[in-house]
Symmetry: C2
Subunit: 426 residues, 2 copies
C-alpha cells in the first residue's frame, strides 16, 4: 500500500511545518484586510475549459462521476473565485480583498518544486482597476515572504505588463486571435535555442531582435509602472521589485500587470506569480458582471525548499515549531490508587486551556518524568503521597512547589516561564 506519486503524507512533524506556512499566510493576509474564502475541491470541467484556453485542461485530474457529470479536481482557484463573485457580486462592497489557501491538483511530471497535490495561497483584489490595487497586491506578496524571514537578498518580484506586449505585437502586425500564441513564444524565449525562437517568431512576422530590444528597454513601460513603483517605495519595498518584460505568464486570461517572484539564487521555480485579469468575470458570467480584478498564487512546495536554504528563515520557522510543544503540563500518577484523582487534575488543567498529557496505564515514575521531558512539558504535576496536595516540578529549573489542586491551572499560569508562542513576524 503506497502513496500515489506526487502526493504527500503529512506526519506530525511535516504537518507542523505545513501549519507554519498556513499560519503566516493567514496572518499577513489578515493584516492586509483580506478575508478568507474557499470553494469546493471538485468543479464541473466546463469551469476550466471556459476560462483557461486549455493550458491547464491537459493537466486535470478529471473524470465522469456516478451521476454522469464530467468533473475535475481544482487545478487553480481563479475560475472558482470568478464563479463565486459573479454569482453574488452585489452582496459585497468593492473592492473585495479575498484570500484562500487550499489544496490544488495537477497531473504534472514530478520534479523539484512541483507536486500533483500542493497548497497555494491565493490573494485577489476585485472591483478596483487602479495601479494602487496593483501596488497593494504586490506589497502583500512581498510582506508575506518577508514574514517568513526572507529579505531582498533572497527574492525579487519581476514586474511586466501584458498590455505592453499586446501593443507591441499588434504594432508588428500580429493578428488579434494569434496574440496568445505569440506570447507563448515570448514566454519560452529564455528556455529555447535561439534558432528555434527566431523561427517561431518569424511565423508571426516578428524578428527576434525587435523582441530583444523591446525587452531591453523597459523605460517605455516606465510611465505605466511609475505609480506602482512610487507606491511600493513609499512603503519601503522598492528593493524587492524589478521591471522585467521577459515575464508574460502562461495563462490566457491576464490583461495588464503580470509578475513572478523568484529566489535571487535562481535555483528554484517561481515562488509566486499573478497579475490582472480584468476580463475574466465578464467571460465567466456571460457578460453579466464586469469587474476588474487581479491576484496572485504562492505555492507551498517551492517556498518550503527556499526556507530550508535561507538560515534566517529556517531559524524563524524552527522557533515557531519549538514553541508548539506537544504538552505543557504532564500529570505523573505516582500512586496507582490515586489514578482517579489524577484524572480529575488532568481534566481541570485541560478545561483551563493547558495542553496536558499523562500515562494512560501504570508506568514507573521515572518513565513518566521522561515522557514529560520528551513532550517538552514545562511542568510535571505529581499525584501521589502528598495528596490532597500536589508536588509540582518546573522541568527547566528543577524548582519544586507543593500546591493545592484547587486553583492549580491559575497557579501554574503565574509560575509559567514559557515565552508567548507567537514569534514576531517582521
Amino acid at each position: 500500500m503506497q502513496l500515489l506519486p506526487g502526493f504527500r503524507d503529512f506526519y506530525p512533524e511535516d504537518c507542523a511545518r505545513r501549519n507554519y506556512t498556513l499560519s503566516i499566510w493567514r496572518e499577513v493576509a489578515a493584516r492586509y484586510g483580506f478575508l478568507e474564502y474557499d470553494g469546493p475541491v471538485l468543479e464541473p470541467i466546463e469551469l476550466y475549459k471556459k476560462k483557461s484556453g486549455g493550458e491547464l485542461v491537459g493537466q486535470l485530474f478529471d473524470f465522469v462521476d456516478k451521476g454522469e457529470r464530467h468533473v475535475a479536481l481544482r487545478p487553480e482557484m481563479t475560475p472558482s473565485l470568478a464563479r463565486m463573485v459573479a454569482a453574488r457580486e452585489r452582496d459585497y462592497k468593492k473592492p473585495l480583498k479575498w484570500f484562500c489557501a487550499p489544496s490544488f491538483f495537477r497531473y504534472e511530471k514530478q520534479q523539484r518544486g512541483r507536486l500533483r497535490e500542493f497548497l497555494q495561497l491565493n490573494c485577489d483584489i476585485l472591483g478596483d482597476a487602479s495601479p494602487a490595487a496593483d501596488a497593494e497586491l504586490l506589497a502583500l506578496v512581498i510582506d508575506t515572504l518577508r514574514a517568513f524571514g526572507l529579505g531582498a537578498q533572497d527574492f525579487v518580484v519581476r514586474l511586466s505588463d501584458r498590455d505592453a506586449w499586446m501593443q507591441f505585437a499588434l504594432g508588428k502586425g500580429v493578428a488579434q486571435e494569434r496574440l496568445l500564441d505569440f506570447l507563448g513564444v515570448v514566454d519560452k524565449l529564455e528556455r529555447l535555442p535561439e534558432a528555434e525562437s527566431r523561427r517561431k517568431l518569424a511565423e508571426f512576422g516578428v524578428e527576434l531582435e525587435a523582441v530583444r530590444s523591446f525587452i531591453a528597454d523597459p523605460s517605455a513601460e516606465a510611465a505605466k509602472l511609475q505609480g506602482i513603483l512610487a507606491d511600493l517605495k513609499a512603503r519601503g519595498l522598492a528593493e524587492f521589485v524589478e521591471v522585467d518584460l521577459t515575464i508574460v505568464r502562461g495563462l490566457a486570461y491576464y490583461t495588464g500587470l503580470v509578475f513572478e517572484v523568484f529566489d535571487r539564487g535562481g535555483k528554484e521555480r517561481a515562488l509566486a506569480g499573478g497579475g490582472r485579469y480584468d476580463g475574466l468575470l465578464e467571460l465567466m458570467s456571460d457578460g453579466k458582471v464586469k469587474m476588474p480584478a487581479l491576484g496572485f498564487g504562492m505555492g507551498d512546495v517551492v517556498l518550503a525548499n527556499l526556507l530550508e536554504e535561507v538560515p534566517a528563515a529556517k531559524a524563524r520557522r524552527d522557533t515557531w515549531l519549538a514553541a508548539r510543544r506537544a504538552a505543557e503540563v504532564y500529570v505523573v500518577v505516582a500512586e496507582e490508587t490515586r489514578r482517579l484523582e489524577a484524572l480529575g487534575v488532568v481534566q481541570a488543567l485541560r478545561g483551563a486551556g493547558w495542553r496536558t498529557d499523562y500515562a494512560l496505564t501504570a508506568a514507573k515514575v521515572g518513565k513518566q518524568f521522561q515522557a514529560a521531558e520528551t513532550l517538552g512539558a514545562q511542568f510535571a504535576v505529581v499525584v501521589g503521597a502528598e495528596w490532597p496536595q500536589l508536588k509540582v516540578k518546573q522541568l527547566a529549573t528543577r524548582e519544586e512547589h507543593l500546591l493545592s489542586p484547587e486553583g492549580l491551572p491559575e497557579t501554574l499560569r503565574t509560575l509559567s516561564l514559557a515565552p508567548t508562542p507567537e514569534p514576531p513576524l517582521t
Copy 2:
C-alpha cells in the same frame, strides 16, 4: 456555471464559521496532547477495498487517472492513517495520539446533515489496548462538543461493544464469516419493520426476542464498560454517556468499544462516531504491524446544524466571529497629496501586526470613516492637515488624540480597548 450538488462555496462569512469549527477542533485536540497529521486527498482505490469490506466503496468518487491508476477521493481517514502508521510505526513512541481535520468525499444522496464534500475531525489513539485509552478518547469527543457550548442537555454519547455482539452471535450459532452481515441486521433494527427484522434474523437462526433481551440488559456488559465509566466519572463527564447496545456501527473493521454521539432532541444524524479497530493495522500491513487502535470522526455538517439550534452554542460562535473584525485600524487619507505618507503609516501598522486597511483610491473623508465603521475598526488614523502629526480617533468612544507616526503601532496598543480575540472555551 454552477456548483456541483452536495458541494459548498465558502463565502467569507461561511468560511469564518468553518474556521471557528476548525479552531475549536484543533484547540481541544491539542489540549489532550493530540498531534495533527494529514494525508493526501487522493489514494489508490485498493486502500479502501482492502479495509472496509466494501461499505464505502459504492460511495467513492473514483476514477482512472492519466497514468492508468485506479484512484479515489478519500471517503474517510482511517485507511490512510493505518497505511501511514504501519509504514513508520517504529519512529514514534506509543501510544500515538494523532488528529486531523480535512475534507472527505462520498457520493451519497444529499440530505440534511449529509453532503458530498465535508470536513471531519478524526482523533485516534494507537498502540494502547486499555480501557483507559477508550476513556481518554471518549473524554476528548465530549470536551470537543462542550467547547462549542453544548451541554449534557444537548448531546449524549451512546456506548456499545462489538465484542459483546460477537460473543452473543457466536453463542447463538451464527457462523464466523457471517458475523458482519448479522451486525448489519442489528444496525438496522430500529429502522426496519419488525416483521422484516424478524425474517432477516431468522436467516441467521436468531430470534428477535433474544436480540431484544440482550439489548435490554446492558448490565451483562457492565464489567467491561465499568472501567471506562469510572474513568469518565472521575473527570466529571459521566452525565454525557449511556450504554446502548443498539449501536453497532456500519464499518467492518471495528473490534471492541463502539460509540455514536447524538443530539438529545433526536432531530439530527449522528454528530460523531467511532470505536476500536485493533485488527486493522495488521490487515493493512499484511501482518507486519500489530497495533491496537481506536478513533472517532466528527463531521462539520451535523455539528453546524446543532450549533444553530442551541442558543448558548450559537452565542459562543457569534462572539468568536465578532472578535475577528476585518480591520482593526483604518487609515484615512484626508489629503490626497499625503497619500505616500499614508502608505508609510499603513506599512508600519501592518508590520507591527495591526490589521490595517485604507481606501485604495481617492474618496471623501466621510466615506472613508464609514468604511472604517463597516469593517469594525477600533481606530481611524487620519493623514491630513495635521501632518507630521496624525489625528487618531477611537471609533467606539469618539475620543481623539494627536499622535506622532513614530511609535504609532505601540501607542495604539496602549490605547486599545478591544477584548482579547479568544473567548473562553469551557
